[in-house]
């Protein structure tokens, strides 16, 4: 069970992630694949807002959910490989273009060494593999204390 790094520290994940074909929508909080959401939107809309979240791959188009963002308690962007940087752009689009303000998670293959950039692009929760210590993760998260360009965090500071 991967642990989750939030600003509050390392926590157990309280969201159940549905597999791509899965149609069992039970559970307190569920993370639904983007395609499942698009196909079953009507049914899923009946759920309590904020108890539903979406997960998508970095190569999927976030504008498909642009109008529903307020409903989601969580959006997770999946990195198929840590070298695949599409999720960084996807995160900024969700935050800056579509104004999403809920939890934005990085899941899949990510290195602690990427946490700082992920955070700057708007992520605020990170799935951590077991072998990564909290110390390493926090150290990586705060790797730099300054920046040359404005991304999500810098723009917010204004």
């Amino acid at each position: 069970m991967p642990r989750l790094l939030r600003s509050s520290g390392l926590v157990e994940d309280d969201w159940r992630r549905l597999a791509p074909e899965e149609q069992d929508f039970g559970g307190q909080r569920i993370l639904v694949p983007l395609d499942t959401w698009l196909t079953h939107r009507e049914a899923l809309l009946e759920r309590v807002p904020q108890r539903i979240g979406i997960w998508l791959d970095g190569d999927q188009e976030p504008d498909a959910i642009a109008n529903d963002l307020a409903r989601f308690g969580c959006i997770a962007i999946h990195f198929p490989a840590f070298t695949d940087g599409r999720g960084f752009s996807c995160a900024r689009l969700l935050r800056e273009r579509y104004g999403y303000c809920g939890e934005l998670r990085a899941i899949g293959d990510i290195l602690p060494d990427q946490l700082h950039y992920l955070w700057r692009c708007g992520f605020d929760a990170f799935e951590l593999p077991d072998e990564v210590s909290l110390d390493t993760a926090l150290d990586c998260l705060g790797a730099f204390s300054a920046s040359y360009q404005s991304a999500v965090r810098e723009a917010a500071r204004g």
């Binding site: 752009s89 800056e96 290195l111 950039y117 300054a146 920046s147 040359y148």
Partner: protein, 553 residues
């Protein structure tokens, strides 16, 4: 020259600390080879055929005497006593030890240098004209713009894991000396009718397996939009560049697949959201960057300098030759720009020893305001030499072996490290360069041939820019044997052209003879005052091909 402020210093220090941590975790087995690779590459560290190779950034080629001395020290303490200047205005060390890399980075940070993003799938070192700021044909000094783009690209959180590497070059003169059309993005600074700076944006150029020239996607970008427009280009590339095939992952493939027009349209659409956002360049910022590159206090020319030079050239033919080939005009009367040739016969192009680096640092201080530039021809330039000092400088350079008067001729070969060092190579390149230099070492013949570039790459990655050499040589592998494919008609610069392959490739020992036949053909058919490339353009490859492949009578 740009000087670090607190932010630069902090970031470079934090980077050293970060990399030290990564190296320790790697050595402790916490990071696998595959995980460490992209991290170390973004710090310029390759694991090569024989040892690690560390590539150090020389932002847009500018280097101070202090920095040169530090490179000398690093060469001596951590390496085998020499450094290698590359075609991308960087410097490489071929023998450092992995454990010591963080120490080297710390030594570099002390003199405002680093190895950040000198490799890996990110935005690389920005390159420009080695005569920036002093060229008579300059319309806008590209250096402040280079620094602006350098900062934008450094630790850009969104673009550190692109499909592939990303190279940007900037030119601000009539003659493009930065080869902007063979970069992922090329920026041409020019002035509009009202005298304001505008930027012409080329995208999708590049060499390698699929050589292509960049296409213009925006004719007159206003300076304040530079960063947001680059953000838009990079975002489109990051999201839609191919990641399934390393050989099709450069931005040029997207540009080609969509067509330049459609690509421009997509960028434009993305840009509409970013335009005028927080990354907009302010006048104050531009002024700040420009303030580092204001003209130094030039001295007035002395009245009898030119007469003296005339007397010196009359007395010393070697000096005259050097003046003709290695010295260029400067926009300020009484000054000149001098190219130091790093290509004496028998030394791999671009290689210098620690002692030589120190000597160059001394000379830079005496003769050129304490600075030098690295050129993409793998030479060095002293940009601000008083004409009155030329003779004295020449004698010093001659003693050091940097006065080979062959700049711009066949002797000034561009050559990648090739099979002697590089693990990607198909064939050796340095011995080929040397064989050609030895075969054609008669200066009178070289001068008679005139301007002629010969570029050699050890594989399709084209680090030696063989496609844009007037003569290009590419190492190929045929069933485990090293062969060389030869092409002609390539050119870099404002009239960039890709060369055409002559025909079947050759064994190494045949190469000098083949080059000889190409040259003979040129000499035979050239019109008066026609350069090699002009002849190629007029007649095409056929006459060259015919003589190269003619059976011995």
């Amino acid at each position: 020259m740009y000087r670090y402020d607190d932010r630069d210093r902090t970031l470079v220090r934090e980077r050293v600390r970060q990399f030290r941590g990564q190296t320790e975790r790697y050595l402790a087995g916490e990071l696998s080879d595959d995980q460490f690779r992209p991290l170390r590459l973004q710090n310029g560290l390759y694991i090569q055929r024989l040892a690690p190779m560390l590539r150090i950034s020389i932002p847009y080629g500018l280097i101070s005497a202090t920095q040169l001395r530090r490179l000398a020290r690093i060469a001596r303490v951590y390496d085998k006593g020499y450094a290698h200047f590359t075609t991308r205005q960087n410097v490489q060390f071929n023998w450092p030890r992995l454990e010591e890399i963080p120490d080297i980075l710390e030594e570099l940070a002390e003199v405002e240098m680093h190895a950040i993003q000198t490799s890996g799938n990110c935005v690389r070192n920005i390159t420009t004209d080695e005569f920036a700021g002093v060229a008579p044909d300059e319309v806008e000094d590209p250096r402040p713009w280079c620094e602006l783009v350098r900062q934008w690209a450094t630790f850009h959180p969104e673009f550190a894991f692109l499909p592939r590497k990303f190279k940007i070059a900037i030119s601000g003169s009539e003659q493009d000396r930065a080869a902007i059309q063979v970069h992922d993005v090329g920026l041409e600074l020019y002035r509009n009718a009202a005298g304001e700076v505008r930027i012409r944006v080329f995208v999708g150029g590049g060499l390698g397996r699929t050589p292509m020239l960049g296409e213009v996607i925006r004719e007159h970008l206003e300076p304040r939009h530079l960063r947001t427009y680059l953000d838009a280009i990079l975002r489109i590339y990051n999201r839609y560049g191919r990641r399934d095939n390393k050989h099709k992952a450069r931005i040029k493939i997207v540009v080609k697949a969509w067509g330049a027009e459609e690509f421009a349209r997509r960028v434009e659409r993305e840009w509409q959201h970013l335009k005028d956002g927080p990354n907009t360049v302010t006048e104050a910022e531009l002024g700040h960057f420009r303030s580092f590159f204001t003209a130094p206090e030039y001295r007035d020319p002395e009245p009898n300098t030119e007469a003296e030079i005339q007397a010196q050239t009359g007395a010393d033919r070697a000096f005259a030759r050097w003046l003709e080939r290695n010295v260029r005009p400067h926009r300020v009367p009484g000054y000149a720009a001098v190219t130091l040739s790093l290509k004496p016969v028998g030394v791999p192009p671009g290689d210098v020893t620690d002692a030589q680096l120190e000597a160059i640092a001394d000379l830079a201080e005496t003769f050129s305001l304490g600075q030098a530039r690295v050129t993409h021809h793998q030479n060095l330039v002293f940009a601000d030499v008083r004409r009155a000092d030329l003779y004295r400088l020449w004698r010093e350079l001659k003693t050091l072996g940097f006065a080979t008067p062959t700049i711009g001729t066949l002797g000034d070969i561009i050559c990648c490290p090739g099979g002697d060092f590089c693990s990607l190579a198909n064939a050796k390149s340095i011995p080929i360069a040397e064989a050609i230099q030895r075969e054609f070492d008669d200066l009178d013949y070289l001068y008679d041939l005139g301007d002629l570039s010969l570029n050699i790459s050890g594989c399709m990655n084209a680090c030696g820019h063989h496609h844009v050499g007037n003569i290009g040589i590419l190492g190929v592998d045929k069933k485990g044997e090293e062969f060389y494919q030869i092409q002609i008609g390539g050119a870099a610069g404002s009239d960039a052209t890709l060369g055409q392959v002559l025909g079947p490739s050759f064994y190494a020992p045949e190469v000098p003879r083949v080059i000889g036949r190409i040259l003979e053909t040129y000499v035979r058919i050239r019109h008066e005052d026609e350069t090699f490339i002009e002849t190629c353009r007029r007649v095409g490859v056929a006459p060259f091909k015919e003589w190269v492949y003619a059976k011995a009578a």
